[in-house]
């Protein structure tokens, strides 16, 4: 049995033996992790029983929807059909997307990821830290990736596909790509998620606002199939971006907003996170760590 030292930040979850709920809100806990296959016969934390060794593996922890601070704040359910994410100015909403991928893979659902902002490599690195292997999921045909950020390289100079003059046609082709991917992976038993990382990059490609709104409309129409949900991420820095983001907010079942701190930057808190539903709005401060994020309720 090999020993691995894991550093877990902001971990919370029940102990396997004494069922005591442990919530770590500050500091970093160093625990000894043994191989994942070993039965959970030890206490989770040395606080439960000082003589026992804690057994923790990142992957075999309890349901991430409860134990993961981000996912427990978001509380995304299969009924949430349209999830819009708005990132303001210099804030980075990437952690929301990568955590949602974690939940999707945990629930054994299907995912079509459209990536404008980061190459797949980035998601793979972050995914490994969060405890999933995206490329393996791609191999298993659970995840399909449409990667305009890589495909564009081929079009540079030739002015085809993503760089063609007819922007409406560009969006049409793009839509058909997504549709094909969705039909490839969707099954009767599972929920299929369409995730677009940064819709606002369509603006950079010269697509008109009206065409983008139209595209959003088409994407949203995917939910006519009960087994499909859409996650649309949009960055806001200019007025035109804001129109897209407001439109997304208007149609969304769950609206998530990530903003930087109003007063500048801090080493203790990265920014604000707002989760808005028809039932109410909750606000958090969040701090990004290399192994996940930590939320604090905020007023």
């Amino acid at each position: 049995m090999s020993e691995v030292i894991l550093e877990i930040e902001g971990f919370s979850g029940p102990c396997w033996v004494c069922k005591r709920t442990l919530i770590r809100s500050s500091g970093c806990v160093k625990q000894v992790a043994l191989a994942a296959a070993s039965p959970p016969k030890y206490h989770l934390d040395t606080l439960c029983s000082l003589s026992d060794i804690a057994v923790v593996t990142m992957i075999s922890l309890s349901d991430p929807r409860n134990s993961n601070p981000v996912l427990s704040a978001l509380k995304i359910k299969p009924q949430d059909k349209i999830i819009s994410i708005r990132e303001n100015l210099t804030a980075d909403s990437n952690f929301i997307l990568t955590h949602l991928i974690k939940q999707i893979l945990y629930e054994k659902n299907r995912l079509c990821l459209v990536s404008f902002h980061n190459p797949v490599e980035h998601y793979q690195y972050v995914g490994k830290k969060l405890g999933y292997d995206l490329l393996k999921a791609v191999e298993d045909n659970v995840v399909k990736i449409v990667e305009p950020i890589s495909d564009i390289v081929e079009n540079i100079g030739l002015e085809e596909n993503y760089l063609q003059e007819d922007k409406e046609n560009l969006v049409k082709c793009f839509y058909h790509d997504i549709k094909r991917c969705l039909s490839d992976i969707s099954t009767e038993e599972t929920q299929t998620y369409l995730m677009v990382d940064d819709l606002s990059h369509l603006l950079d490609l010269g697509v008109d606002l009206s065409v983008i709104i139209n595209f959003v409309n088409y994407c949203v129409n995917f939910i006519n199939n009960d087994r499909v949900s859409v996650v649309l991420n949009s960055h806001v820095s200019s007025k035109i971006d804001e129109i897209i983001a407001n439109n997304l907010q208007y149609i969304a079942d769950v609206h998530i907003e990530v903003s930087p701190l109003n007063t500048g930057r801090s080493t203790d808190v990265t920014g604000f996170l707002t989760v808005e539903r028809s039932t109410g709005k909750s606000r958090y401060h969040y701090k990004a760590f290399d192994r996940g994020d930590k939320n604090f309720p905020s007023r």
Partner: protein, 399 residues
């Protein structure tokens, strides 16, 4: 793949997220960014940084691609600072002398702050130091692969007459010209709107100023030819440093449209997004300087969103801060607008610390802004009337 990365000269691999870092050429900037520019990075910056970055590239034998429509890129290369061969005094030596000095009583909130930022001092420096007072020798420049883009045609090498002496290089230059789909001379082919400048005859469908498209095309060809793409498998892996000077300046406006139209910013946004895609898929870094002071209404926010690192330098000269005594050590403020998290959730942004830059005769450096203690005697205090039962002829050190 990862093992291969370690063999690239002038780079170092970051353990946490497998990022490949390359030096910016300024030790203080490297430590601020956590070791250097991540490979596949992308940023906006100003000329001195620009020069150092490319001097570093040449010192490390990286390939360099320089583009500008404002000045001749070869004159930028001529101004590159020389490498200091001897290792400069390390910071630890300096901090030791500080520790040895007498203890000074300071305000409690600063008392526990480390004098040297421990997070940055651990970082191993991978770059060279440069002497701004001297220029890099012609010999070094001749032996490097440098590509110039002037907006009219690509020139390979520093000076054609020098090139002829170096066989291998000349072959490469011919090879390069073959790969670029240029049909020189441009000047002769202009239509009624051309005003004698390039590209007017080759209309771009997507960009309103075809120069953007041509530049992207040239960069892509360069990456392809030098086998810098991630998927390529060259014998010896190297890094391409792309420099674009004064992008979006009036020289980049579309010829037929007057001043800053909406389309001209769209061009810039699209260009930067395409360049991001290019650079992210190759062993390359791109440094772009944008003269934002020329812009009033046009916002660069979308460009910043598409970039990985964004910095802003604000000089004191010409502003009311110019004669401020307490800022006399510095030449201007340095703002780190954005430092993206690549392959990670955490950005290494140092928080709300203020930085300033110093431009000395030999060195350009970025430091945490420290205001000097207010202990200067400005003569006024002596004339103050004394109150209470104090003696009139009080000495300075009396209480």
């Amino acid at each position: 793949m990862e093992k291969k990365n370690q063999n690239i000269p002038g780079t170092t691999q970051k353990y946490q997220n497998g990022q490949l870092l390359t030096s910016s050429g300024i030790p203080s900037l490297d430590s601020l960014l956590g070791g250097g520019f991540p490979r596949k990075t992308f940023m906006d910056l100003i000329l001195k940084l620009f020069l150092n970055t490319f001097a570093e590239g040449i010192a490390k034998k990286h390939s360099v691609f320089i583009a500008s429509q404002d000045v001749n890129p070869s004159s930028i290369i001529k101004e590159l600072p020389a490498v200091i061969e001897n290792e400069p005094e390390t910071d630890s030596k300096i901090s030791k002398t500080c520790d040895g000095s007498d203890k000074m009583k300071i305000a409690f909130r600063y008392q526990n702050l480390p004098t040297v930022d421990s997070s940055t001092s651990n970082i191993k420096h991978i770059g060279h130091s440069f002497d701004l007072s001297r220029n890099m020798s012609l010999n070094d420049i001749e032996n490097s692969e440098i590509y110039y883009w002037t907006g009219q045609r690509i020139e390979n090498g520093f000076n054609q007459s020098i090139n002829k002496n170096i066989n291998g290089w000349l072959i490469q230059s011919e090879h390069h010209l073959l790969h670029c789909n240029f049909t020189p001379p441009y000047r002769d082919r202009g239509g009624p709107n051309s005003m004698g400048f390039g590209f007017s005859s080759e209309r771009s469908k997507t960009f309103s100023n075809p120069a953007y498209n041509e530049l992207l095309k040239s960069i892509k060809n360069k990456i392809k030819e030098g086998k810098f793409f991630l998927k390529d498998n060259p014998v010896k892996r190297s890094v391409l440093r792309i420099g674009i000077h004064s992008l979006g300046s009036p020289m980049w406006l579309p010829h037929r449209k007057s001043l800053h139209s909406i389309n001209s910013t769209r061009d810039l946004d699209m260009f930067i997004f395409c360049l991001r895609a290019l650079v992210r898929s190759a062993y390359a870094i791109a440094v772009i300087t944008v003269p934002t002071h020329l812009y009033h209404e046009v916002s660069l926010d979308r460009c910043i969103h598409s970039s990985d690192i964004a910095m802003r330098l604000q000089a004191f000269s010409g502003t009311e801060l110019e004669n401020n005594q307490s800022l006399s050590d510095y030449q201007g403020f340095f703002y780190l607008t954005k430092l993206a998290a690549i392959n990670s959730l955490v950005s290494r942004h140092p928080g709300s610390i203020e930085y300033a830059f110093k431009l000395r005769r030999k060195k350009f450096s970025i430091e945490v802004l420290h205001l000097p203690p207010d202990i200067q005697d400005d003569g006024k205090k002596e004339n103050l009337p004394s109150f209470g039962c104090g003696r009139g002829n009080k000495q300075l050190l009396d209480f």
